[in-house]
């Protein structure tokens, strides 16, 4: 075990170009999925928080449950959708980074929407009487509350980022783990493990964890800086 760990550390220090390309692709795929996920998930969550409609309770339960959507299931569904024999086959997107972004977006949207819904609903419960009295329409309240809760909502985004960066099931199936094209950190780790290359797996794992840590530190720093300015 210690031997494996030392070997892993050596491999982390000897950063090679191939590893950088894999890291870059991981970031590109997961950050794209996150960006789309935030653009869809936050407004959807905020709208559910503020609006009242039949079936709302059931929708919230489903949304919360979908936070635990198995990534493999999403992978298989996206695989079947994007396959040449599937409904969107003509675009030829299977086994490409775009397919991976699509699959990860499906994974993070419910998570971001569910967390956003709770955050915005708490704020809405505080503000509802006053905003209603002022005459703010529900849809305008959605926009105002998103702006008001933007710092808390960054937590929803970070949760989404963590989910996207760490999942392996979906990207493995829809990306195909193609060397130099769709291989990301998690699928590389899975591959090295199955080759019995445990030291390299752990090295890659440490790089991935550091990466997620750095992104979170960055987000935290930004948040502190902004809070000092905005309060």
């Amino acid at each position: 075990m210690t031997e494996t760990l030392f070997e892993a550390l050596r491999l982390v220090v000897v950063v090679d170009y191939q590893l950088l390309a894999i890291v870059a692709l991981s970031l590109r795929v997961s950050l794209s999925a996150l960006a789309i996920g935030v653009l869809i998930g936050v407004p959807v969550g905020a709208a559910i928080a503020v609006q009242r409609f039949p079936g709302r309770g059931a929708l919230i339960v489903v949304l919360n449950a979908m936070m635990g959507l198995p990534s493999v299931v999403v992978g298989v569904i996206v695989y079947l959708l994007l396959s040449r024999s599937g409904p969107f086959g003509e675009f030829g997107l299977l086994f490409s980074p775009a397919a991976m972004i699509f699959a990860q977006t499906l994974l993070v949207v419910p998570l971001i929407a569910a967390v956003s819904r709770q955050i915005v609903e708490d704020a809405w419960n505080d503000y509802a009487p006053e905003l209603t009295l002022i005459g703010v329409r529900r849809w305008d309240a959605v926009v105002l509350l998103i702006a008001d809760c933007r710092f808390s909502l960054s937590l929803a985004a970070l949760a989404g980022l963590g989910r996207a960066m760490s999942e392996v099931g979906a990207v493995m199936i829809v990306g195909g783990n193609i060397d130099g094209f769709t291989r990301v950190m998690t699928t590389a780790i899975a591959l090295e493990t199955s080759k019995g290359n445990l030291a390299l797996s752990i090295a890659l794992g440490m790089v991935l964890i550091c990466l997620i840590l750095m992104l979170n530190a960055l987000a935290y720093g930004l948040r502190c800086w902004a809070l000092r300015r905005v309060g």
Binding site: P129, L133, I134, R137, L144, D148, V230, G231
Partner: protein, 239 residues
């Protein structure tokens, strides 16, 4: 909109009684201050008048109508200040009414000027002091040009100079043509601002008299006890 006539108003959520058989007549001028011990239903009365709560019984008559036909604004004890700039915290309220962008912006600047926040337009509302927050909340209500303004403890937990600033603004809003109905626990403030006092206890109006008369010759035993600083539970106990 005025006279405002409240008859037999009651509010009984889940078996407890907050207000019972409350009668009140208000003209469209001046500042009316609601006094009363904690739990006497002052805030509930403001919320019933604003329409945020529905009465269990009785009726509120705005010069023959169910609804006020002029604008009614309210400043809450803890105003909802969004994590946005001072300017936006006023502007969004105007935006909710529609109207032209340029006019909205001009009005926003105008009221912020009048409450002394013109130099802090782009700062975050969350960074304001307690007194500044209250001034901002008043500016937002004022911007809407209300015919009636409800204020729930506008100076609770403010220091004397901040209280003074808020009182000055309240007078200006009245001069601007708004009827003001406010609650307070500050008897000095009531004497400084009020034209008339509505004294609330036991869930109904015990007295509604001009301010001078209330403080010199309180009629009800509850009001006398209140002014002598006796504990509110005694009043309930004596009932």
């Amino acid at each position: 909109m005025f006279p405002l006539r409240v008859q037999g108003l009651a509010f009984r959520p889940e078996r407890q009684t907050v207000l019972q058989d409350l009668d009140l007549d208000l003209s469209g001028d001046g500042i009316s201050v609601i006094l009363g011990p904690n739990g006497s239903g002052k805030t509930v009365l403001l919320r019933l008048l604003s329409g945020l709560l529905a009465p269990s019984a009785g009726r509120i008559d705005w010069n023959g109508r169910d609804q006020p036909n002029g604008r009614l604004a309210m400043v809450f004890q803890h105003p909802a200040l969004l994590r946005l700039s001072v300017f936006r915290n006023v502007e969004f309220a105007l935006a909710a009414q529609g109207g032209e962008r340029a006019a909205r912006h001009a009005r926003t600047r105008e009221v912020l000027e009048r409450v002394g926040l013109a130099h802090r337009l782009d700062e975050s509302a969350r960074l304001l002091s307690g007194g500044e927050r209250q001034r901002l909340a008043l500016a937002r209500a004022w911007a809407l040009r209300p015919r009636m303004l409800l204020l729930d403890e506008p100076t609770a937990s403010l220091d004397p100079s901040a209280t003074e600033a808020v009182e000055r603004i309240i007078r200006e809003i009245r001069t601007d043509g708004a009827k003001i109905l406010m609650t307070t626990h500050n008897l000095g403030q009531a004497q400084r601002l009020a034209d008339d006092i509505v004294f609330l206890a036991d869930g109904c109006v015990q007295e509604h008299v001009p301010v001078r008369r209330f403080f010199s010759q309180p009629q009800s035993p509850a009001a006398r006890a209140f002014l002598q600083g006796e504990l509110p539970w005694r009043i309930a106990f004596d009932r």
